[in-house]
Symmetry: C2
Subunit: 198 residues, 2 copies
C-alpha cells in the first residue's frame, strides 16, 4: 500500500471546517481542532502555519469550485429562466459539496475581511453578483422577467434565500437538492400565487 500524503492534513481541515461552521472561526480554538483530530495543538503547526491558514484553504477551495460552476452556467446560451435555474442548481451543488465552507463564508465574511489575507473575498463576492446580474438583466431584456424591480435587489433576495439554505436544508433521498432547486426557481419565477386552473 502506498503511503497517503495529506490524509492527516485533510482530516485536520475536516475537523476545523466542522468547528468553524458550528461556532464561528473566532470562537474555535486550535486546541479544540486538535482534540477533534486526536492530536495535540502543537502538532497542528506541522501541517499549517496558523488557524487563519486553515480557514483560507477551506474557503478558497469552496470559492474555486463556485467560480468554476458559475462560469459553466454563464457559458450556456439558453433562455433566462433556464439559466437562472442553473445558477440556483450550481449554488446548491456547491453548498452540498462544501457545506461547512458555505456556512463559514455566510457567517464570518465580515470577521475574515478584517485580515488582509482575506481581501480576495471582496472580489469573489463581486463575481458572484455579476453572474446573477448578467442572467437577471438578460431575462429582463428578453422580456421574460419583469422590469419593475431593481435587478440588484432581486439578486440579493435570491442570493440570501439560496445560500442560507445551508443552515437548514439537509439533502435526502426524499428531498434531494434538485427538489429544493425546483422549489427555489419556481418560487422566484412564478411566485406564491396559486395559478391552478379551476
Amino acid at each position: 500500500m502506498a503511503r497517503e500524503p495529506g490524509v492527516r492534513r485533510e482530516a485536520i481541515l475536516d475537523s476545523a471546517a466542522t468547528l468553524f461552521a458550528s461556532k464561528g472561526v473566532a470562537a474555535t480554538t486550535v486546541r479544540q481542532i486538535a482534540d477533534d483530530v486526536g492530536i495535540l495543538s502543537g502538532s497542528l503547526y506541522h501541517h499549517f502555519d496558523s488557524k487563519e491558514s486553515m480557514v483560507d484553504e477551506i474557503v478558497s477551495s469552496f470559492l474555486k469550485d463556485l467560480q468554476h460552476r458559475y462560469a459553466q452556467v454563464l457559458a450556456q446560451e439558453t433562455d433566462a429562466r433556464r439559466r437562472l435555474h442553473d445558477l440556483v442548481v450550481a449554488s446548491l451543488k456547491v453548498v452540498e459539496e462544501h457545506p461547512h465552507a458555505t456556512e463559514i463564508y455566510q457567517n464570518d465574511v465580515n470577521y475574515l475581511l478584517q485580515f488582509d489575507r482575506f481581501g480576495y473575498l471582496r472580489n469573489a463576492g463581486r463575481q458572484v453578483q455579476n453572474a446573477w446580474l448578467t442572467v437577471i438583466e438578460a431575462g429582463i431584456a428578453e422580456g421574460t422577467f419583469r422590469a419593475d424591480v431593481d435587478p440588484k435587489i432581486l439578486y440579493r433576495l435570491m442570493r440570501d434565500a439560496v445560500w442560507l439554505s445551508v443552515r437548514w436544508f439537509k439533502p435526502s433521498a426524499d428531498h434531494p437538492i434538485s427538489s429544493l432547486a425546483e422549489d427555489c426557481t419556481s418560487l422566484f419565477v412564478d411566485g406564491l400565487t396559486n395559478r391552478a386552473k379551476n
Copy 2:
C-alpha cells in the same frame, strides 16, 4: 437639568452592538468596546456583569420588539397576501429599529446557543416560524397560495431573504423600507415573471 441615569449605559450598548454586528461577538473584546465609548475596560463592569450580559440585553430588546410586532400582525383578520405583506413590513421595521441586533442574531445565533443563558433564542426562533407558517397555511387553505410547495420551505426562503437584507439595505428617502417591503412581497407572491399585458 436632571441627571440622566443610564445614558452612559446606553452608549455602551450602542458601541457594543456596533462592534458585535461588524466583527462578531466572539471577536469583539471588552477593551474595544471601552475604547469606543471612551472609558477603560474595567469601568464597563460597573454597568454590566459581563460581555454576554451586553449581548443579552441587545438581543432581548430586539426579540421583544419583534414578538410584539408579529403578534399585532397575527391579530388582524385579513386576506393572506395582506398578512404576508404585513409580516414582511413588521420584520423590516424591526431591522430598521435594531439593525445591529438583527445582524448579531443572524450571524451569531449558533455561537450564542452554546451558552445556557441564550437558550431562550430557540423558543424565539420557533415563535417566528409559527407566525409565518400560520399566515402561509391560511393562504393555502383559502386558495390564494399554491399548495405544491412545502410551507416550511417557503417560510425559510422568505425568512432568509427578508432578514438578511439587514446586511445590504440602508433605508433612504429614495428607497424607504416600505419600498423594499413592496419588492419583497411582490417577488414572493407574484414572482419574477413579466406579466405585463402587451
